[in-house]
């Protein structure tokens, strides 16, 4: 009886320890991923607006945006979201400079 208490207690402590470490970490990862995709979608949308407003076509920017959209279509993890956002921002910058220039 007494040994059973010790055994169960130790097992529970281990389970609680793993849960206390893993659950918040997983939750934080998930939040990070969603945040990164939110930023990426915002950047892609913004780049789309800049493309429509640009006076001329910019081939490089279109390539970048196409790549960003293809990455976004595959719905990867956080790294994919960040690279998509990076492509979209560079495309946006190219179109804007074309607009102002």
């Amino acid at each position: 009886m007494s040994w059973l208490i010790w055994l169960i207690g130790v097992v529970l402590l281990f389970v609680a320890g793993f849960a206390a470490v893993l659950l918040p970490r997983r939750r934080a990862n998930e939040l990070d991923r969603r945040t990164a995709w939110s930023a990426a979608r915002a950047a892609i949308d913004t780049a789309g607006v800049s493309r429509d407003a640009a006076p001329a076509r910019v081939a490089e920017a279109e390539q970048l945006l196409a790549r960003a959209e293809s990455i976004a279509a595959e719905h990867g993890g956080r790294a994919a979201a960040e690279s998509a956002a990076d492509c979209a921002r560079r495309a946006d910058r190219l179109w804007r400079s074309a607009d102002h220039g």
């Binding site: 208490i5 206390a20 945040t35 939110s38 930023a39 915002a42 607006v49 407003a53």
Partner: protein
């Protein structure tokens, strides 16, 4: 503020519970090896045993040759060799014998091996009594009760043994033992010299006793050195035996008193009712056979008896002094440890679950208000915009929509804030291109969000 403090307190409690649980586990595991060494076998006087020949159990008495003894037995149906000590109630024995031919050879105690063999070689003796050991044919009679040992060793009375053995030889059922030893109260005249000796030295040795001093094993048998010892020769046969111990116990209350009548030892004093019979039965049950055959001096008998008393004392039967260890708080607390441990584990688990629940903090006021203000600004600007400011305005509105989506998804405020910052800079750029003042976000929002 109070909430944050209570949360910090709960967090501290959680880790304290975990630490206590682990400490209890460690204590429990460490305490496991402490509970091995409990033994009642540590009684010191193990070497003080009754040893063959070396304990003075052989007397000076000797016996004639086998032929002489055979002739004596043929001439007389009861032959008492010189030095013999055994006595019996003639009428009871004669009644048991009846009309059969039973010849009894009585030899002194303490014969050596060769002399004992000579006595056993006397073929025509039906019953041999060596000391007080009674044997005949294939039988040997031994006392097995305190009354029997008392009669045998205090007086040398072997009546019961003879009657039992004769019944055995005649294939008759054995008659029950009779406690025929009479006792009487000791008179004050008998007590007075004993009391004087006991007051002076704690030891009284009557004339004829074979005790010279208190044996060394007395120190462990009766710690404290208060015990009194009286040594008397065997009591005369046929007369009541005085109860000296009882009388002395009245003179010396709360004092252990050991009285020897020959080889018979009586104890009076503290815990006599619990202990005296246990000690006597275990002692005479073990060494009774040797005591009856040999002539041990009282010195050795008392030493062996006191060793047995020590064993009984250490066995925990008699006032329980030594094997019981002082109170150990760990030992007392040990049974409670599992439950304390379980309690700590439960507290830790409950607080962990509590801290793992999704923090349901109230949504912060900042970002939604900014989003609302900027959205209103964007709607107003969209009515005034022209082609130069349109891309910036559209980009700002896109960012605002992204911020709204992020807010709906419960994304972190920092992320929403970054999107709103982007939207603000886009709207600012659009407002700078407008011909009207007052639409720059900083100006527009100042009046509304403070």
């Amino acid at each position: 503020m109070a909430e944050r403090r209570s949360r910090a307190w709960v967090e501290g409690l959680r880790w304290v519970a975990l630490a206590v649980a682990v400490a209890l586990l460690v204590i429990f595991l460490a305490a496991q090896r402490q509970s091995i060494d409990v033994s009642y076998g540590q009684s010191p006087p193990a070497s003080d045993t009754v040893a063959e020949g070396s304990a003075g159990e052989l007397s000076d008495a000797t016996v004639p040759s086998v032929d002489e003894m055979t002739a004596m037995v043929a001439a007389d149906d009861v032959v008492r060799l010189p030095g013999s000590v055994a006595r019996w109630d003639e009428s009871r024995v004669r009644e048991a014998i009846g009309s059969t031919d039973v010849r009894i050879l009585v030899a002194p105690p303490g014969l050596d091996e060769a002399e004992r063999d000579r006595v056993r070689d006397v073929e025509n003796a039906t019953i041999r009594v060596l000391g007080t050991e009674v044997s005949g044919g294939i039988y040997q009679a031994s006392a097995d009760s305190l009354a029997g040992w008392r009669a045998q060793f205090a007086v040398g009375d072997v009546t019961d043994l003879l009657v039992t053995l004769i019944a055995g030889i005649q294939n008759k059922p054995s008659p029950g033992d009779l406690d025929t030893l009479r006792r009487r109260d000791a008179t004050s005249a008998e007590i007075t010299p004993m009391v004087a000796d006991l007051r002076r030295t704690g030891l009284h040795i009557a004339a004829g006793a074979t005790l010279s001093r208190v044996p060394a094993s007395a120190a462990t048998a009766f710690p404290g050195g208060k015990a009194l010892y009286v040594a008397l020769p065997p009591a005369p046969f046929g007369r009541p035996v005085p109860r000296y111990g009882e009388a002395l116990a009245r003179v010396f209350p709360d004092t252990p008193i050991v009285v020897m009548y020959g080889s018979w030892i009586e104890y009076d004093g503290p815990a006599a009712a619990d202990f005296a019979d246990v000690a006597a039965a275990s002692f005479y049950g073990q060494v009774g056979d040797r005591l009856s055959e040999y002539a041990y001096p009282q010195q050795n008998v008392l030493g062996a008896y006191l060793s047995r008393v020590t064993d009984v004392r250490y066995a925990g039967l008699f006032d329980r002094p030594l094997p019981y260890r002082p109170l150990d708080p760990l030992r007392v607390a040990l049974p409670a440890l599992p439950w304390l441990f379980a309690g700590c584990v439960l507290v830790f688990l409950a607080l962990s679950v509590r801290s793992l629940r999704r923090p349901s903090g109230a949504p912060s006021v900042g970002p939604p208000a900014r989003l609302a203000g900027l959205t209103t600004l964007a709607v107003e600007m969209s009515a005034l915009t022209h082609s130069a400011s349109e891309p910036a305005l559209t980009r700002g509105i896109t960012k605002l929509m992204a911020a709204r989506a992020a807010l709906d998804e419960d994304l972190p405020d920092r992320h929403v804030g970054a999107l709103l910052d982007d939207a603000t800079s886009e709207l600012d750029e659009a407002a700078r291109l407008l011909p009207f003042t007052g639409y720059r976000p900083a100006d527009y929002l100042r009046g509304r969000l403070t």
